[in-house]
């Protein structure tokens, strides 16, 4: 069955048909499907997945007992999930649609039921919190969501009321059926913002006409009839939602930042009520300048009225616990908390406590419980929350209080920080777990080689240029000897460790990766993943285990900022540390900042950064290096002036010499403008070309050049008649994708322009009529693969463009875009793909010998490894001798999806947003990271592991056979000698 192995042996004799045969070999192998998929024992060996949920918006704990383990969160990524609060593991997770359709407006928890309003009041859902199953789902009437609350009838919670912009509805908790729905009176003028029920026979709706009056409407629970309707003069009030709460026996408490006063109003009052004013001054309270005071109240049970105690936040770190007296008009300050970052109420049984987080010192915050009634601190309730310098500040506090056996109140606390991390702390002050939810929104990433081990690095450094100049002959000899000794020591230590660990059972051998023990492995398969998240938090993750080795939170990053991560110096230049630069551009001001750091340790580098007073448009990494081996980064500002970083004299001199060969291009999507610039010696620029695509017709969606670290091994393709079709490998080629502004199915189109980035010459344009985006595309080597939606046939299609120079090379030694008189030959083919896709990337290997695969992220969460062989415009419709010789698969319009092509078997990656590929030290192996909501890391072998012995390789058998043969030879040699001697004697 395996003749190919013989074939390969013989081709070594003649390196002639080699390429052809190896490709044949590869293809033959690729048809042996058995080895394609992952074996059962390989699951989780080279791959890992981490699941995230995003920034928490609502968090609730399961029933208030000490043994409860569940924690429910709803997040800004439209996810409703449950964690095991002991471990932080995900119990279950529901991923809803992205965008406003799936937005979670509110999450309410009562007993076993979790109520959720989804999609700006589109749906009301009830979940069973035990198993995470959907109890029921009710479609609500149109109108934007305002508020929702549980409604109790005779002390049992049976209903939920949902307030919309113009209507209020009541639903049964058991089955979601609507009890009644009523239109709100005068909803054009009045903004209804709050709904309140305190266990009475009515449900109250509060609305406001800004700076005019407040409207209170009481509906009968029974039939939705309006029982009362009051209008209260309130010219100072602009929003109920942000400045009012209901406390005590139905008293509306509002705060007015302008007059610095509290206003109270009994909602249920029969006669026409009036707001009564209490000046903050009279309570000896003072609001920090410019701060909008915030009220925090608590309603422990929907069937009962809220607490009469409430918090008033007077400044960023100033809270006051106040109590409303029974008369409903006077307020008593219970306790002043300053400084205090966060406050929260928590109820267990009949007891309600307030948790307050106060800064303790530089590295920790203290959380204490206070009795709500008296404001007294409860003893032995202090918990410390560690403040890491690289984490964000605390942002929200969720307290899980429970009664201990001795009837005292115990609690656990979930702290959400500004970097979206969740930290769960138990009472003695132990951090139980931390979830870095910022990783649910990775924007960009890079993989950086790990440094060599200390000893290796020492050897490297020993004979460095600088060392040789500084030292004389004798110190060099000494150095040599000492490094040999250290190597010996390291080897002995390694042997000892091997011996020591061999005695232990395998399960006990820990392979914990810490930042100290990081070192490059034999084949460079373990790398550091530097991930940049939208929240501005940077992570360094070990690619082998997935453990977070360092994190760094950049404060003051705008939510919509643009990021560009650049590796300026790799680990190859010992003793210079590797260096990464993150360009963060604020979308509003256009100003950019640079964050320079060491990607291995995450530490910020103390390098003089260039002043960037003007908005930055783009950056450009040159292959030019300065004397410290850092690549030069050029930053282009809005006046098309260039700033170099680093900008030493050496660099500036090099730039002057090379200026005439440095070009850059800028694309302004809003103006439909592509323009190219050339660098002048004085670091200013001149525009040398411009292409305008009228924005009325089409808009530029995306542009991709080639990856700078891509190597193309073969400069051409071997034809069936053994001639060569040379590839058009223009390193300056850009693929620009446009979409038509007209979205009508008959007139919509997708355009792909191949533009030379130096000269602006349009090499090729392909317009796909009756096609619509979103277009996903990959540009690599001499091909562009893109995927779009065909509006006519209503299906997804893949199209491939391949560029060839022809059978002659124009200039085989040098490529200059300025000297290319001939246009390339362009071949194109299109295929039907049975699934929509979310992202696409091509595999990348060290030398580019291995065949390429496309990694396609599907909406189902699967990642498909699609051989590029299937996307080859030379696939013939009629099979000929030559095409067979070339191993071209006959053209078939349908592209298959084979389940064994899924590289992540059942480890689906929710909402794949991007796939990152990096070469490893092995030519056969490509490292893959898929990120989106989840992060999945694995290795792929597009041409199988041709350079590695299999895992199950039988070393024992092979070596025993070898030894046996060796001894057999020895013995037979001896026997032959004896026989010869005997014969000679005869």
């Amino acid at each position: 069955m395996h003749p190919p192995s013989l074939v390969v042996t013989f081709t070594k004799k003649s390196s002639v048909k080699m390429a052809k045969l190896t490709s044949l070999f590869v293809i033959l192998l690729s048809f042996f499907r058995i080895s394609e998929a992952v074996f059962e024992d390989q699951v989780g060996k080279f791959d890992w997945r981490q699941q995230y949920v995003g920034k928490t918006l609502f968090a609730h704990f399961e029933a208030n007992t000490q043994s409860s383990k569940k924690l429910f969160v709803a997040t800004d990524k439209n996810i409703f999930a449950s964690f095991n609060s002991r471990t932080g593991d995900l119990l279950w997770r529901h991923v809803d649609k992205t965008g406003p359709e799936g937005t979670i407006d509110i999450l309410l928890l009562h007993g076993q039921d979790a109520l959720m309003v989804v999609g700006d009041g589109r749906l009301l859902r009830s979940w069973d919190t035990n198993i995470g199953g959907l109890n029921w789902e009710a479609v609500l009437d149109t109108g934007s969501f305002q508020a929702a609350c549980f409604v109790a009838i005779q002390d049992t919670v049976k209903l939920v009321s949902v307030l919309k912009k113009a209507a209020i509805s009541l639903h049964y908790l058991s089955n979601g059926h609507q009890k009644w729905v009523e239109n709100l009176p005068d909803s054009d003028a009045v903004q209804y913002q709050a709904v309140y029920s305190g266990g009475e026979e009515e449900v109250y709706v509060l609305g406001v006409v800004p700076n005019s009056h407040l409207t209170i409407i009481a509906y009968s629970l029974e039939d939705g009839e309006i029982i009362k309707q009051r209008s209260v003069e309130a010219s100072w009030l602009s929003s109920v939602e942000s400045s009012c709460v209901v406390i005590g026996q139905g008293v509306l408490m509002c705060v007015d930042p302008a007059t610095l006063a509290l206003y109270t109003l009994p909602i249920q009052a029969e006669e026409t009520p009036e707001f009564s004013q209490i000046l903050l001054q009279s309570l000896d309270l003072e609001v920090s300048p410019g701060f909008q005071p915030v009220l925090v109240s608590s309603q422990p049970h929907p069937a009962r009225s809220p607490l009469s105690e409430f918090f008033l936040q007077l400044g960023p770190d100033h809270h006051v616990l106040l109590q409303l007296n029974a008369d409903g008009y006077t307020i008593v300050p219970l306790r002043d908390f300053q400084p205090a970052f966060l406050v929260s109420f928590a109820t267990t049984g009949k007891k309600t406590v307030a948790a307050v987080m106060t800064p303790k010192n530089e590295t920790a915050c203290a959380i204490n419980l206070f009795s709500v009634d008296s404001g007294r601190r409860l003893l032995d309730t202090t918990v410390f929350f560690p403040l890491e310098p690289n984490d964000g500040k605390p942002h929200a506090l969720y307290v899980h209080a429970f009664l201990k056996k001795d009837d005292s109140v115990g609690y656990r606390v979930l702290v959400q920080t500004q970097d979206h991390a969740l930290t769960f702390i138990q009472q003695p002050g132990r951090v139980v777990w931390t979830r870095e939810e910022a990783l649910a929104d990775v924007v960009t990433m890079e993989m950086v080689d790990l440094p060599l081990t200390g000893t290796q690095a020492e050897l490297e450094g020993e004979f460095g240029k600088k060392a040789a100049i500084q030292d004389g002959l004798f110190p060099m000899v000494l150095k040599r000897l000492s490094s040999q000794v250290t190597l010996l020591q390291a080897w002995l230590a390694h042997l000892w460790k091997l011996f020591y660990e061999a005695r232990k059972p395998r399960s006990q051998v820990k392979n914990e990766v810490t930042i100290e023990t990081l070192s490059r492995d034999e084949f460079n398969l373990q790398k550091m993943m530097v991930m940049v998240t939208a929240s501005g938090k940077l992570f360094g993750i070990d690619s082998k285990s997935g453990s977070i080795l360092w994190k760094h939170y950049l404060e003051n990053v705008q939510p919509n900022a643009a990021f560009k991560l650049i590796v300026q110096r790799t680990t190859a230049h010992f003793p210079h540390p590797p260096q990464c630069t993150l360009l963060v551009k604020d979308k509003d001001t256009g100003l950019a900042t640079l964050h320079v750091f060491n990607p291995i340790f995450g530490r910020k580098s103390h390098i003089a950064l260039p002043a960037l007073p003007r908005p930055i448009l783009q950056s450009l990494l040159l292959p030019v290096i300065d004397q410290d081996y850092a690549k030069v980064l050029l930053l282009v500002d809005d006046q098309y002036k260039v700033t170099a970083f680093p900008s030493t004299k050496n660099v500036l001199q090099q730039l002057q010499e090379m200026a005439s060969s440095i070009f850059f291009y800028l694309i302004r999507s809003d103006q439909g403008n592509l323009s190219g610039f050339r660098l002048r010696k004085d670091l200013s620029t001149e525009r040398i070309w411009e292409v305008v695509l009228p924005t009325e017709v089409q808009k530029i969606v995306a542009v991709k050049g080639k990856r700078p670290n891509e190597h193309v091994h073969s400069q051409g393709r071997v034809m069936g008649d053994r001639s060569v079709l040379y590839k058009y490998l223009n390193p300056n080629l850009l693929a620009v994708v446009t979409e038509s502004t007209d979205t009508h199915p008959e007139r919509a189109f997708v355009g792909v322009f191949l533009v030379d980035g130096v000269t602006g010459r349009i090499i090729h344009e392909a317009v796909q009529r009756k096609a619509r985006g979103p277009v996903h595309f990959v540009h690599s080597e001499n091909w562009v693969v893109y995927e779009y939606w065909n509006t006519k046939s209503r299906r997804n299609e893949f199209s491939v463009l391949e560029l060839f120079e022809g059978t002659e090379l124009y200039n085989s030694t040098v490529f200059s875009s300025l000297d290319r008189p001939h246009l390339p030959q362009v071949l194109q083919q299109t295929y039907i793909f049975p699934s929509p896709i979310t992202t696409m990337e091509a595999t990348l290997t060290e030398k580019g010998i291995t065949s390429r695969h496309l990694l396609v992220g599907l909406p189902s969460g699967a990642i498909l490894s699609l051989p590029k062989m299937f996307l080859d415009p030379r696939r013939p419709e009629v099979v000929t001798e030559h095409s067979r010789e070339e191993n071209l698969i006959p053209y078939a319009p349908e592209m298959p999806i084979r389940t064994e092509w899924f590289i992540n078997y059942n480890q689906t990656v929710a909402r794949v947003k991007g796939i990152y590929t990096a070469p490893s030290g092995l030519e056969s192996t490509c490292l893959v990271v898929a990120y989106g909501l989840d992060i999945y890391q694995t290795r792929v072998y597009p041409s199988k592991q041709f350079d590695v012995l299999k895992d199950d390789y039988d070393y024992v058998l092979i070596s025993s056979v070898l030894f046996a043969l060796f001894f057999a030879t020895m013995i037979s040699k001896r026997l032959a000698q004896v026989k010869l001697l005997n014969r000679a004697w005869r």
Binding site: P3, L6, V7, F10, K13, S14, S15, V16, K17, A19, K20, L21, K564, L583, A592, I616, L617, Q618, L620, L622, P623, L634, V636, M658, S661, I662, F663, F664, Y665, L666, I667, R668, S669, A702, V703, G705, H711, V712, H713, S714, Q715, G716, V718, M719, R722, S723, V724, L729, P731, N732, V758, T807, L809, N811, S812, T813, V814, F815, S817, L818
Partner: protein
């Protein structure tokens, strides 16, 4: 193929028959019990050294007077000997040429597919002429006695060259020769990039 015996295993016949090419000598052999006659005329008076003769129940035999142990070279037949040498040398020289039809046949039979047997055939075909050409000096030594030594040498080498040409042709038809541009594709270096370019969408 006819074989020529310049020497035989039985030195006794030199005396008896005086012709080096005597083939009938075997008939007179007394060895081998199967053809034992009732009586036999032993012309050589027995040979004590012959192992086979040792088994015959004869006693020690004396050499006759004037008998020499060494064969006496016969100088009377110089002329025909020379011809034979010549003939033999031509045989050597023409050997490779005679191989060619056989090789052609093998070539035809083995086909152009690349698998182990055709490859082995081609290797043999290519290796034998090369080996022969490398051991040219040994062959020349063999042809030393011939008058037409140079001509024979030439014919011999031409034959071998033809053989190797045939092997090369076979390689060519099997596609094992780097004669196409595709065979040198792997050695083409990627062209050096003259311009540095970068940029992108305005951030």
């Amino acid at each position: 193929m006819k074989r020529h015996h310049y020497e035989t295993d039985h030195p006794e016949f030199y005396v008896a028959m005086a012709t080096p090419g005597g083939q009938g000598g075997g008939a007179l052999s007394t060895r081998g019990g199967a053809r034992r006659m009732k009586w036999a005329l032993e012309l050589t008076l027995g040979n004590a050294r012959g192992r086979g003769d040792r088994q015959s129940n004869q006693g020690v035999v004396m050499y006759p007077i004037g008998y020499s142990d060494k064969p006496v070279p016969d100088t009377s037949i110089q002329e025909s000997d020379k011809n034979l040498v010549e003939k033999r040398c031509w045989d050597v020289a023409l050997g490779p040429l005679k191989q060619i039809p056989m090789n052609l046949f093998i070539m035809y039979m083995s086909g152009n597919t690349i698998s182990i047997f055709p490859i082995m055939m081609v290797c043999m075909m290519a290796w034998r002429p090369i080996q022969a050409l490398m051991s040219m000096s040994a062959t020349f030594k063999l042809l030393e006695n011939s008058n037409q030594q140079w001509l024979q040498g030439l014919v011999y080498s031409v034959g071998n060259l033809l053989g190797s040409a045939l092997a090369i042709y076979k390689c060519q038809s099997m596609g094992l020769l780097p004669t196409h541009s595709s065979d040198w594709l792997a050695f083409i270096e990627p062209p050096v990039r003259m311009e540095i370019m970068g940029g992108g969408m305005v951030l």
